[in-house]
């Protein structure tokens, strides 16, 4: 292969290449690369969005679990408190009952003591009245005759015994 007029092909190749490179750029490469780029971007975006949604979902799930756990803990706490309160109430009631009972017993004891005191006092009064009466009757008997007096005393004594 020999080139005796190289300017021919060099000139036309340069011209054609430059002109068509510009044409290709304006009418083919630019729009095609744009289309491909946009599509790739939209795919990337869609994937990113899917990831985001998945994350959100996981977060939501975790939140749900947390709320559930909290609710459970609260329930347990409430149950515990209720139990405590129940025990407390029962204990309080028992205590109160004990107190009331003790008070009643004390009161009863006092009443009994009082009654006893009164009874003793009355007995004392009666005994003294009886002794006065007896002394009266003895004295009156003695005044009539001896025998009768004696008899009377004896009788009195036996009466006392009978009492």
């Amino acid at each position: 292969m020999k080139f005796f007029h190289p300017e021919t092909l060099v000139f036309w190749t340069t011209l054609f290449f430059l002109v068509f490179a510009v044409l290709f750029y304006k009418l083919a490469w630019k729009p095609i690369l744009n289309i491909i780029g946009e599509r790739e971007k939209s795919i990337e975006d869609a994937l990113a969005q899917a990831d985001l949604a998945r994350e959100e979902m996981a977060k939501l799930k975790a939140d749900n679990q947390k709320i559930l756990n909290e609710a459970r803990a609260e329930r347990d706490q409430m149950l515990k408190e209720a139990k405590q309160m129940k025990e407390q109430i029962i204990n309080q009631a028992k205590e109160d009952a004990q107190k009331v009972a003790n008070k009643e017993i004390a009161k009863a004891k006092e009443v009994i003591e009082n009654e006893k005191q009164r009874a003793v006092k009355e007995l004392k009064n009666q005994v003294s009245e009886l002794s006065i009466n007896m002394a009266e009757k003895v004295l009156s008997q003695e005044l009539k005759d001896k025998d009768t007096q004696l008899k009377h005393i004896e009788k009195l004594i036996s009466d006392i015994k009978l009492n």
Binding site: H5, W12, T13, F17, A21, A28, I32, R39
Partner: protein, 364 residues
């Protein structure tokens, strides 16, 4: 066994090529005279003439498909001493001997071995390599190769418009676009982005244009009938232009660190710096030069070998030869298909690497 047969027949025919090439090698002017006499009496077949004819340029376009053969006369465009001169190559009457003198624009022209010269300045038996620039006008004719070049670009342009149209509103590729898009994405991602770096985007259209032009020229050059079957990327002038454009883009986009690397190479003793710089400056030119030679040599060799295998049939006129050289031609065609893609890829890849060297920021 098939492999052995192929390699044996290949080696036989390769040695035959060398043999026939030696046998056909004769002095230039004598050869040319013989060729014309061959054309005239159509008795002896000259394979060198056929192969040379295929590989060289011409002012006439031979449209050749089965059952139809016609020679078109292409316009001759000359830049003469009297300015632009345009006429049809028909005026030369298919003469290549300098016998027909055409008078246009006050000047006389004749054509010798496809070179248009001033009739009054060149003698009758001049060797083509002896013709100097003041003996001939500058030739900007639409030659066979120029027309082929235009056909290639036009076809590529139509295909690319088709690709663009094949996208629907959502940007989903249909039909042709589905086939071409992976190549585009490959060039963008694996060739440009990989080798140029973050500033890759502005080089992608150029790389795509270069890749598809070389690929199309390679592939269409393999189609064995008109208007294809030409030899563009196997023409060193075409690859010279491509490599020159790569060279210009590389050096225009060269940044500070690129020039520093060339003119004041870092990490080298100061005494050695001028010498290394000299080598670096040399390598600025050898890189695109290698691009030019590689593509040209691959395609040129492929076409030559295929044509040689085919012409062997007519040289030997023996029933066994068509069989063997037919196989060999098919084999070469398959390997040329591979080479068509490979060389387009290699040229693009190396261009991208050179651009990358020019724009990469200093990393060390």
């Amino acid at each position: 066994m098939g492999k052995n047969f192929l390699s044996v027949s290949l080696s036989i025919f390769l040695s035959l090529i060398i043999f026939s090439a030696n046998a056909q090698h004769e002095p230039e002017s004598h050869e040319m005279n013989e060729q014309t006499s061959n054309l005239e009496n159509h008795e002896e077949f000259n394979p060198t003439h056929l192969i040379n004819h295929h590989l060289s340029d011409s002012h006439d376009y031979e449209f050749d498909i089965p059952f139809f053969h016609k020679t078109f006369h292409l316009p001759v465009i000359l830049w003469t001493k009297n300015g632009l001169t345009v006429f049809s190559s028909e005026d030369f009457d298919e003469d290549n001997e300098g016998k027909v003198v055409v008078e246009k624009n006050g000047q006389k022209f004749k054509r010798i071995h496809d070179i248009i010269v001033y009739a009054d300045k060149v003698g009758e038996h001049v060797k083509p390599e002896d013709i100097t620039l003041d003996q001939r006008p500058l030739d900007f004719s639409i030659t066979k190769n120029v027309l082929s070049l235009f056909i290639t670009f036009l076809l590529l342009f139509l295909v690319l418009l088709g690709v663009k149209k094949a996208y629907d509103e959502k940007g989903v590729p249909k039909g042709l676009a589905g086939f071409i898009e992976p190549i585009i994405v490959f060039i963008r991602d694996d060739v440009a982005k990989e080798n140029i770096g973050p500033k890759y985007e502005r080089y992608v259209p150029f790389l795509l244009s270069v890749f598809f032009f070389i690929l199309f020229a390679n592939l269409l050059g393999l189609i064995p009938f008109s208007p294809f079957g030409y030899n563009l990327t196997g023409n060193i002038l075409v690859t010279f232009v491509l490599a020159t454009i790569v060279f210009i883009i590389t050096n225009i986009s060269g940044n500070k660190s690129y020039w520093k690397h060339i003119l004041w190479p870092p990490g080298v003793p100061i005494i050695l710096k001028p010498f290394i710089a000299l080598i670096e400056i040399l390598s600025m030119f050898t890189k695109p030069f290698a691009l030019m030679i590689r593509l040209f040599a691959n395609i040129f060799a492929g076409h030559t070998i295929i044509l040689t295998f085919v012409t062997l049939i007519f040289v030997f006129k023996n029933w066994g030869v068509p069989l063997a050289s037919g196989f060999a031609t098919i084999f070469m065609y398959i390997s040329e298909l591979l080479v068509a893609f490979l060389q387009a890829y290699v040229f693009t890849l190396l261009s991208a690497i050179y651009f990358g060297m020019a724009v990469k920021e200093e990393a060390h």
